[in-house]
């Protein structure tokens, strides 16, 4: 057994210890695995949920935006499939943010009683959302293979790449919100409200080109605009708006940097405030 030295010093925040993070990788996987097990314990219900939510949202949004609001889609692509792709990404994102935001407070027992790099908690919460996402993605992929033959192309290989800024952005928000939620509990009321808003502000039920010109500049400031747009480009060949993609990339990186900084600054004192 190697000799381990630890020094605890007051008033100094220690630099991020990657070696220690590596040491605790098993705890990370176990926590992630616990979250998954607990979520899917009643297996049928768990899986049904993971599929029912995107499918109902898809149906509702298709009716509202296509049938009622008469928004037009893309030639060769059934409108519900457009919506499905948006719902898929948006639900992944909002799932990560909402569960991540509560993750520290929800694991108060761990935070106040044992030491480990706190980063593990919010990140392990995200893994469950990834499982939900993959389940829904499998259904989507089946539908895509069947209904979207006309728009198949090599671009679909880039689809996973579009998820990268999504993850970075969600991770940044999760770091930021979960640590603020420890200090200020009213964040738990703000977050669902903002996510609710996001359903309609982000191009989930419509395509980016449906936004009138003057509004589009503002709509592009939402990183989800660029991300969903890029994903639809890979899946359906919807014309890509590069400006929106760049905005999404820069914002995601910024979000991650700021979120992580805030988290690291608060991390040491979580157990005093939680």
């Amino acid at each position: 057994m190697g000799k381990i030295y630890t020094t605890i010093e007051s008033g100094r925040s220690s630099p991020l210890n990657w070696g220690e993070l590596w040491q605790y990788r098993e705890l990370f996987w176990l926590l992630a695995w616990r979250n998954i097990i607990v979520r899917y314990k009643q297996t049928v219900i768990g899986i049904v949920w993971a599929l029912a939510r995107p499918l109902t949202a898809m149906a509702a949004f298709s009716v509202i935006f296509h049938r009622i609001a008469k928004l037009s889609g893309v030639p060769g692509v059934p409108y519900p499939m457009l919506v499905f792709s948006g719902v898929l990404i948006w639900q992944f994102f909002s799932g990560m943010v909402s569960s991540g935001c509560e993750s520290l407070v929800g694991n108060r027992g761990l935070v106040t009683k044992v030491y480990f790099p706190r980063v593990i908690i919010p990140v392990s919460g995200i893994v469950v959302c990834a499982v939900d996402f993959l389940l829904a993605l499998a259904v989507f992929a089946g539908a895509w293979l069947v209904c979207c033959r006309e728009v198949w192309s090599w671009r679909v290989l880039l689809f996973p790449l579009t998820l990268l800024p999504l993850l970075l952005c969600a991770l940044g928000l999760v770091f930021f919100l979960s640590s603020l939620n420890v200090r200020y509990r009213d964040f738990r009321h703000v977050v669902p409200f903002l996510l609710q808003l996001g359903w309609f502000v982000s191009p989930v039920g419509f395509v980016g080109s449906a936004v009138p010109g003057t509004w589009r500049v503002w709509a592009q400031l939402n990183p989800l605009y660029g991300i969903i747009g890029a994903a639809r480009w890979t899946l359906f060949g919807v014309p890509l708006e590069w400006s929106a993609v760049w905005i999404a990339l820069v914002e995601s990186l910024l979000c991650l940097a700021v979120g992580f900084m805030v988290f690291r600054r608060q991390e040491k004192e979580f157990s005093d405030y939680i």
Binding site: I8, E9, S10, R34, Y184, K268
Partner: protein, 413 residues
């Protein structure tokens, strides 16, 4: 002796929650606008604490509630940051501030062993290697694949302790975890902890209220009071005594009652004095112990004896009547009161009472013509808190609800 933990002038300051420290963002915003946060108050939960711990030491940290014991453990286990000072630790540290941290009710016993082990810092390979040992120690083997939400609380605690007992880190920080489980299991925990430290050369810091556990487990001790270390001796016996003398026993002491104006009086019965001493007549020691024997002296005045006068002393704890003592209960004594001052004395044997707060109250009445009944609220009474248990504790003091603890005669073969 090799120093494995070196603590230098450690201190922790908390912002007082009564002060305007914002709990919500709205409040924080309000404070920020009005500059109110400048006024926040604080207190030191731990201050100026220094200690060198050698390899194989079993240090008992004793102190009352809020003395800083838990804060010390939390700093050492890096759960909370120190405000001042520094600590150097050599070796892998595991802390157990609670039994079953990270246990999830939905998961099975097996799954929880792995999860809890990882939470306490064991690797999966280590847990797998010791899994059978852990299960055997906990004694829940038949239920290991059942969700722990269906466990009895005893099973739950046993499994959780079993995981912790098989940690193989060099430094163990324990916070009163012995206050769990049934008597038999506690004895096993103590044995296990003995063997962990003595056989395997590990170091333990053990925080407890339980003097018996500290005595039997530790080879050195420190006493904390209001966040500071008191006394500079680290001998366990001296520390336990220092703690007991510092620490006010839970109950109020009232060892003497004397009549004053307004107290109950009647021509056939007027209580004058009621007091309690040790059986040999010396004052009741502070703290009083369960092995002590006591005498209760009662003086009363009678102007005109009443044939039906009866009085007795009711001994109760936690408002539960336990037993009473009356001179008329002894047939051979044929007790008669005389006009003038009367004295009676009765004795409480040693090894009868438990470590609790006792109340001894006088009840008196005389039925028939010229009689009386002393009202409840005017009964003279004594209070005798007993803080020290002298019997071997096989059950945690915190969960002990027995009002009496008589020493019984046993025949064991």
């Amino acid at each position: 002796m090799k120093t494995v933990i070196k603590i230098e002038k450690l201190g922790k300051r908390y912002e007082l929650s009564g002060a305007p420290v914002a709990r919500t963002f709205r409040e924080a915003l309000g404070n920020w606008i009005t500059w109110r946060s400048r006024r926040s108050e604080s207190f030191w939960a731990l201050r100026n604490f220094s200690l060198n711990v050698h390899r194989g030491d079993r240090i008992g940290v004793i102190g009352g509630n809020g003395s800083g014991k838990s804060t010390l453990l939390k700093i050492l286990s890096r759960i909370t940051p120190a405000t001042e000072g520094r600590v150097k630790l050599l070796g892998r540290v595991s802390s157990m501030l609670e039994v079953g941290t990270g246990f999830h009710p939905e998961l099975s016993g097996r799954e929880n062993v792995f999860l809890n082990g990882a939470v306490l810092g064991m690797s999966r390979a280590e847990i797998r290697a010791r899994f059978d040992e852990i299960v055997a120690f906990s004694g829940v083997d038949k239920f290991i694949d059942m969700p722990v939400k269906r466990y009895s609380s005893g099973m739950y605690v046993r499994l959780a302790f079993a995981v912790a007992a098989h940690l193989n880190s060099e430094l163990l920080l324990l916070d009163e975890v012995l206050a769990v489980g049934d008597a038999q299991f506690q004895a096993r925990c103590l044995d296990k902890m003995h063997s962990i430290t003595s056989d395997e050369g590990r170091t333990i810091i053990f925080v407890s209220h339980n003097m018996t556990a500290v005595r039997s487990l530790c080879n050195r001790a420190v006493v904390l009071s209001h966040g500071e270390r008191i006394g500079d001796d680290d001998d366990v016996e001296n520390c336990v005594n220092l703690y007991l003398s510092e620490h006010q026993p839970g109950g109020e002491r009232l060892l003497e009652w004397r009549r004053s104006t307004g107290d109950f009086r009647h021509t056939c019965f007027t209580p004058v004095a009621l007091e309690i001493h040790s059986a040999d007549g010396s004052p009741v020691p502070e703290p009083a112990s369960t092995s002590g024997a006591y005498r209760v002296d009662f003086t009363f005045e009678v102007k005109r004896p009443h044939p039906d006068l009866r009085f007795d002393f009711l001994v109760s704890a936690d408002e539960v009547p336990l037993f009473s003592a009356s001179p008329w209960e002894i047939p051979e004594a044929d007790y008669q009161v005389r006009p003038g001052e009367n004295h009676v004395t009765w004795f409480i044997p040693g090894d009868l009472l438990n470590a609790r707060n006792y109340r001894i109250s006088l009840r008196a009445s005389a039925s028939g013509a010229g009689g009386f009944r002393m009202p409840r609220d005017r009964m003279p009474e004594l209070r005798l808190p007993i803080a020290l248990c002298d019997y071997r504790l096989i059950r945690s003091a915190a969960t002990d609800r027995r009002l009496l603890h008589p020493k019984l005669r046993w025949e064991l073969d």
